[in-house]
């Protein structure tokens, strides 16, 4: 049972306050959606939660079975899909997959790789370098790399950007599955996707 | 000849420090101007 707790997180950039005193708590089986106009700091908050950025004030704590864990212990259980996260374009899909499996301490499971590629509609492109992929395909590949280790915490920043209708449906199914017994955090501008969040945080501009 | 080297060194040090203080003084003046301008603007 995983928990992530945010305590009055404040972030300033060049002395301008982006948001102030945001607190939240989310457990396995719950989902949280961050709502706010463009540039309101949704992505900044996600990057703070994912330990990619230190908040100006406040802190984020990660717990597993009630015991506090460091971010490093959370890393092998975390998946993130976001526009600012690029994969290795000069390596092939399979090479990317191999790296992300090994760095998370998993054996390279070719079967699972094929299933994920098929599930995301990328079957047949396993050995192509990612720079030959279209932006929609790259977005799907990010899901492949984020779901290798069946993450207990899945965080999606603008989950359906660059995706066609079929891609959007695939992502919605992934979201539904993840919500059932794992943590899902979602940041989006699409009102249609607000429904996925049991809890909501509104970040003012 | 010896004395003027000493004098030059003495002067250079104090001119350097003085110039820097003058530079800081310039900064304070421009800050004051900015502050007054800002205050006038907010009163309007």
């Amino acid at each position: 049972m995983w928990r992530i707790v945010g305590e009055n997180i404040t972030q300033q950039f060049n002395r301008r306050t982006i948001f102030r005193n945001i607190s939240f708590e989310i457990k396995s089986g719950e989902s949280l959606v961050l709502i706010g106009p463009n540039g309101s700091g949704k992505t900044t908050l996600i990057r703070i939660i994912c330990h990619l950025l230190r908040p100006t004030a406040g802190k984020v704590t990660y717990l597993n079975e009630g015991k506090r864990i460091s971010f490093e212990e959370l890393q092998p259980h975390l998946g993130l899909v976001g526009p600012y996260l690029q994969l290795y374009n000069n390596l092939t899909a399979f090479e990317n997959y191999t790296f992300f499996s090994k760095i998370r301490g998993l054996p390279v499971d070719v079967e699972r790789f094929r299933d994920l590629m098929k599930r995301l509609g990328l079957a047949g492109r396993e050995m192509d370098e990612l720079r030959t992929y279209s932006s929609g395909m790259l977005q799907r590949m990010k899901y492949v790399c984020a779901l290798i280790h069946d993450p207990d915490v899945l965080i999606l920043d603008e989950p359906t950007s660059n995706l066609d209708e079929e891609g959007v449906q695939i992502v919605y199914r992934i979201i539904e599955e993840q919500k059932r017994d794992k943590i899902l955090i979602l940041a989006t501008n699409e009102p249609g996707e607000f429904r996925f969040g049991d809890k909501q945080i509104h970040i003012a501009a | 000849m010896k004395q003027d080297v000493l004098l030059w060194i003495f002067l250079i040090i104090w001119i350097g420090v003085g110039a820097y203080l003058f530079y800081l003084d310039r900064q304070v003046r421009s800050l004051k101007k900015r502050f007054l301008f800002h205050e006038a603007k907010s009163e309007k």
Partner: protein
């Protein structure tokens, strides 16, 4: 802290990934080898026949090594920022593992380069090294130091609007103790002085390597996650 073994494993995987990317693009390898070889040829062409003393040829060798490092060792971090893959890496691996992996890549790249250009340098400058063992040890120890400083400074400038010049300007003062001792030690080795005279340089190079490596590992986290 992850247990030591997984940390080293992750560092190894980061190193493997970078090696893989490097063979695919060969950007850093081209930069560093081309620079070193062209400098070597220009130097040997112009002053090779002059038969200069070890006191000149030893610093010259280290100048070539230092600036070769400056031409290629920043790429390991700059590439991550330019291709926006640094966040991906930040997400999946702890800071220490990343620093170790990147450090290993730079050390292997620089020492690999030296295996090629140092013998060439000795041939072109027809320089006869009387104490080859001591010479190799000094070069190795000095290069480990240079690659450590280059790695941590590369991490710093990759987060700034990295301009090439900044890399050399920032690295030089920190690398100075290595260069001074290495130049002195190399000169001794070429002249074949007794080992006891070179002991001082070995100690300084080794002590500095340990200190700067530890400082870099501790400070890297503050560079990697602002």
């Amino acid at each position: 802290m992850t247990s030591r073994s997984t940390l080293l494993h992750k560092a190894w995987y980061v190193f493997q990934k970078d090696l893989h990317q490097e063979f695919r693009t060969r950007y850093a390898i081209n930069a560093i080898f081309l620079f070193a070889v062209t400098t070597l040829i220009v130097v040997s062409f112009s002053i090779g026949p002059a038969g200069l003393s070890a006191q000149v040829l030893s610093p010259l060798l280290w100048i070539i090594i230092f600036f070769s490092a400056m031409s290629g060792l920043s790429h390991i971090f700059v590439r991550e920022e330019e291709q926006q893959t640094s966040d991906t890496l930040r997400l999946v691996a702890p800071a220490n593992a990343i620093f170790l992996g990147k450090w290993l890549f730079n050390a292997v790249l620089l020492i690999g380069l030296e295996i090629l250009i140092v013998p060439l340098y000795l041939i072109f400058m027809n320089l006869e090294v009387k104490n080859p063992g001591g010479f190799a040890a000094i070069i190795l120890l000095g290069s480990l130091g240079v690659s450590t400083v280059a790695t941590i400074i590369a991490a710093i400038i990759s987060r700034a609007s990295a301009r090439g010049a900044l890399f050399a300007v920032l690295s030089f003062p920190i690398t100075l103790p290595i260069l001074v001792s290495a130049i002195h030690g190399t000169g001794m080795a070429i002249a074949g002085r007794p080992m006891v005279e070179m002991m001082g340089d070995y100690q300084i190079l080794f002590a500095f390597l340990v200190v700067i490596f530890t400082a870099s590992v501790l400070l890297f986290e503050f560079i990697w996650i602002i």
